[in-house]
Structures are given as structure tokens and as C-alpha cells.
Symmetry: C2
Subunit: 304 residues, 2 copies
């Protein structure tokens, strides 16, 4: 197999994860690399040192333009790329690109997006997800995209513009409740219990109060209604269902693209299909990041 000449190094650089891609002039990926240099693992290394340390072999090309997205653009990152306010498309994102300080490298950082709720005035923010959305939808895409995770996001894209999005603390809440609350006490030998999960989703769909509903994890265990090994699935159903309920109010039941990897995406797909969504597609998160970085690089004319 022959490749086009290398044209761009691009990285999805988050708090935990770091993934690097080498693109050819035709936009195909020549090489990929993952490393343990997420923001919280940098130790004494500067961002420039950390990046230089992984630019070996195929990636030993300090002459190429480098494009980064994710938490590397936050206040705790290499250089702060201030949030661009929604509605925002590729053009607005590119206008917000920031140059990172470096002696040897030509580094640009993709800004995150912010979205203000018109009713409440509350802000939401994302960093990295905007890149994945464009990687799936393309510059002129449409639709609703769900990005599960620690703080999951639901974004709406209209004619290539991200018009708004919401964040939910679902993933972090699950960990908190399981590891640090009384609800985790009765859990043991977790299995993936589909029925318990769906019961949780059903109850969340009719729910009026999260703080009351979630306490049922304890009482259902205490009264022997749900077995210890299924309580984790039940709680997962309650949490994910709680998110789906509100998004149905917001967008109705319509096609949804899930961007992410593995188990969590499948759980969301299960919850969506159980509540009547018929067109749910899972997109690989890494591929979405890579394609999005390329789309932004093209729009920014970092590549021709």
C-alpha cells in the first residue's frame, strides 16, 4: 500500500486520553498512536515536551502543522482557546483557533463550544466533542448527536451549525453513587441484567424527582425486589433513562447518532431503542475525532 505524502499531525488530547494521527495530503490516516500523556498524567513535563516525546518514527515530522483538540485548550491546558458561543459552525470554530507557544512546533488548538439555555441562562460547555461531531456529520451535516461519558452531551446540528447542546453528569454520578454512596453497599458481583436496566429506564421515563427515584436502588435491594448483582444495571437504567426522558421532551423521538466506544454506547442504544427510537447509529469515537480534526484543518487551510 502506498500513502500520499504526510500533511498534518492531529491529536485528540484530553484529561485522560491522548490519541495522535498522521494524515496524508489526501486526508487518509497514515499512522495512529495512543499515549499515556493525558492532562492529569503529564507530571513534570511541559505540553511541548510531552508532545515532542511521542513524535517518533512516522511522527518525527516537526515541520508539519499540528492541530490539537480537547482539554488541551482549557485554562489548565497548553494554551486557553476560549469557548466559541453556539450557534457555531466550522467557520466560527476555525476563527477561534489559538496558537500554542512553542519554539520548534507549529501548533494550533481547537476551541471548545459554549451554549447558553435561552430560558434559564445556564451555560454548557464542551471541548473535543465539537470535533467529533464534525467528524461524523461533515461540514454541512444535520441531526442529533449523543456523546456519552463522564459528562454526556446531546447536541443539535442544523445545516452544519451546532445550534445548542446540553450536558448531563450521568457518568460521573454513576461512579459517585456506586463508589461513595449508600447505594453501592448492597451491590455485589455485578452482571449486565437487561431486564433490571429496562425497569430502571421505564421508571425514569415516568419520574418526577431524581433524588427520590435514585433512592429506590437501596429500597429495591433491601426488599429483595432486585438481586445484588443486578442493582448496578438497574441504577444505570435509572440514570441513562433520566437523560433520555428530557431529550425526548427537547427533540422528540428522532434519529440519533451516538459517538463513543464500547459498553457505554451500547447501553445508551439499548435505552433509546427501548423507549421507541428506531434509528440509532453508533460511531467510533476515535475515528470521529480524526475525521473532525481533518475537517477543521481543511477549513483552516492548514492543509490544502
Amino acid at each position: 500500500m502506498t500513502y500520499a505524502a504526510p500533511a498534518l499531525i492531529a491529536c485528540d488530547w484530553g484529561t485522560t486520553n491522548f490519541r495522535m494521527f498522521l494524515f496524508g495530503t489526501d486526508g487518509e490516516i497514515i499512522a495512529r498512536h495512543a499515549a499515556n500523556i493525558g492532562l492529569k498524567n503529564l507530571g513534570v513535563l511541559s505540553f511541548e515536551q510531552a508532545l515532542a516525546s511521542v513524535m517518533k518514527d512516522d511522527f518525527d515530522r516537526p515541520d508539519l502543522p499540528i492541530l490539537l483538540s480537547g482539554m488541551v485548550g482549557s485554562r489548565q491546558g497548553w494554551a486557553e482557546a476560549p469557548y466559541v458561543a453556539c450557534p457555531a459552525g466550522l467557520k466560527e470554530i476555525v476563527a477561534g483557533l489559538v496558537t500554542a507557544q512553542s519554539d520548534k512546533l507549529k501548533v494550533k488548538i481547537v476551541p471548545g463550544l459554549s451554549s447558553q439555555n435561552a430560558d434559564t441562562g445556564i451555560h454548557n460547555v464542551m471541548r473535543g466533542e465539537e470535533t467529533q461531531i464534525y467528524g461524523c456529520a461533515g461540514p454541512k451535516g444535520e441531526g442529533v448527536f449523543l456523546l456519552p461519558g463522564t459528562h454526556s452531551k446531546w447536541a443539535k446540528l442544523e445545516a452544519g451549525v451546532i445550534t445548542g447542546f446540553s450536558s448531563y453528569m450521568t457518568g460521573e454520578m454513576f461512579s459517585l453513587l456506586k463508589s461513595h454512596s449508600i447505594l453501592g453497599d448492597l451491590m455485589a458481583d455485578d452482571i449486565d441484567d437487561v431486564d433490571a436496566f429496562k425497569l430502571g429506564v421505564d421508571r425514569a421515563m415516568n419520574d418526577k424527582s431524581f433524588l427520590s427515584l435514585i433512592f429506590s436502588v437501596r429500597t429495591e435491594g433491601l426488599f429483595g425486589k432486585i438481586a445484588p448483582q443486578s442493582l448496578s444495571s438497574y441504577m444505570s437504567g435509572l440514570l441513562i433513562g433520566s437523560e433520555v426522558r428530557v431529550e425526548i421532551l427537547r427533540h422528540g423521538v428522532r434519529p440519533v447518532g451516538i459517538i463513543g466506544d464500547g459498553t457505554l454506547s451500547k447501553l445508551y442504544k439499548r435505552a433509546l431503542e427501548h423507549t421507541g427510537f428506531s434509528e440509532v447509529t453508533i460511531h467510533d469515537g476515535d475515528t470521529a475525532s480524526a475525521k473532525g480534526l481533518w475537517a477543521i484543518a481543511q477549513q483552516a487551510e492548514l492543509v490544502l
Copy 2:
């Protein structure tokens, strides 16, 4: 001052707290004692040993009937006093009294209550709070009672019968989020900021999704809308408001008796008054326990 002859020793014995009262034949309290022998602090002591260790001075009366309420009647307690199902009045509670195993002491334990939601089938449970409610309302009382705490409770009493109640994980959730989640990261030098608290309550009243709303603690901090020292008050308002919103749906705006102590009761009162409740009374939690234990002892004819 002269006292009637001692007639009863009664204790509110919970996971953390232990409070003991000596009653005269006229129902007046002759002596009170608090000790650090909550269930989680028993160490190697048996329940009988722990109780005997605090029965000194005025309380050195192993001949008297002893009545206990709270978590001491749970599966992890001295003897399990199974939950009595609502609707339940003093008569049903007394029918559920359990005798604790003891060589020297005459010990009865008050059962907790369970309440099953007619729509969802979900159970709620309480232990100790039923005693406090009767201590405030008397045997034929009426009204809505709120018991703030780790797992707060809202109970409805009709003609002396507790017809049902709900639990909320509000207190535990506040600690979890503050100590273990990303939301605590931006908080510093907490003050009691009344305006930030009320903003939280207002937003909770219009809320559709707790998991989304609570994330605003982070974004409001991030965007500098709420100062670091006020974020804790804002989060407290969101959590308490979230509970009040649902209880307004359930019971409407009506007189509420808050049973509890100190700061937390005052925060709930502030939230209730801010959302239109005009008759909110705070009852001291210890006094409520003592009076309730006496009412149960009378109904059970442990005292004449």
C-alpha cells in the same frame, strides 16, 4: 424542683447518634444523656453492653422498662423490628414492637415504617422518624412533616395515621457532590450566600433534569457568574429546591412542620418560604424523639 418517680428509659439510637431520656410517671423528662455509641461506633461492644455502660447515675435503673427507636431496630441493629406498612398509626406501630434479647434488661424496640408508591411500586422506609412525627403531632395529629437529613423524608399524617411518605437522597448527594465530584473543585471558603441559594431554588423549581441542572454548579463557576465561596450555597439551593418542587406537586403549598436541628432546618425553611409556603414551623428533633417515645410507651402500656 421535685420529680415524679422514674417510669421509663427511652432512647433514640441511630447509626451515628444515641440520645437517652429518663421519664417520670407524669411523662416529664427527669434526665437526658447523649453518648458516642451510634451503631457505627459500637466497636466490640454488644448492644446490651453498650446500653449498660451508659446506665449510670439517674439512669442506673435496670428495673425500668426500656424503649428504643431508630436504626437499633434494623437488620444491623440489636433485634430486627420489621417495617410496618403505611397507612399506619400508633396502634400499628405498637403492634410491631419487638423484644430485644437481654438477660437483665426489659427492652422493646420500635419498628420502622415502609410506604409503597401506588403508581411505581417503589418502597420507601424510615426508622426513628415515625417516633419524631408522633412526638410533634400527638396521637391524633394531622399535617405534612419534613425531616431533613442524609435521606430526608416528607410524611403525611391524617387523623393520627401516617398515610405515606417519600425519601430523598438530598443530604447524602450534597456531601457526595461536594467531596467527591468535579463540582466541589471550584468551591472555596464557603459562605452562606442567601441570593445564590435562592437562585438555586428558583432554577430547581423550573427544572426538567437534575443531572443537567446540577452541572450548572460547574459552568456558573467557570463563567464567573457565581463566586467560588457562593457555589456551595447555590448547590444547596438546587438540591433542596429540587425536593420542594416535587412535594409541591404532591401536597400543594400548605403548612409544613420541619423536625430537625440547626442549620439544615433553617435552609429548608428558607427554601419553603421563598417558594410561597407561609406556615413553616421548626420542631426540635431531640424533643420530638423524646415525646414520641413517651407516646408509644403509653400506647403500649409500658407506662401507666
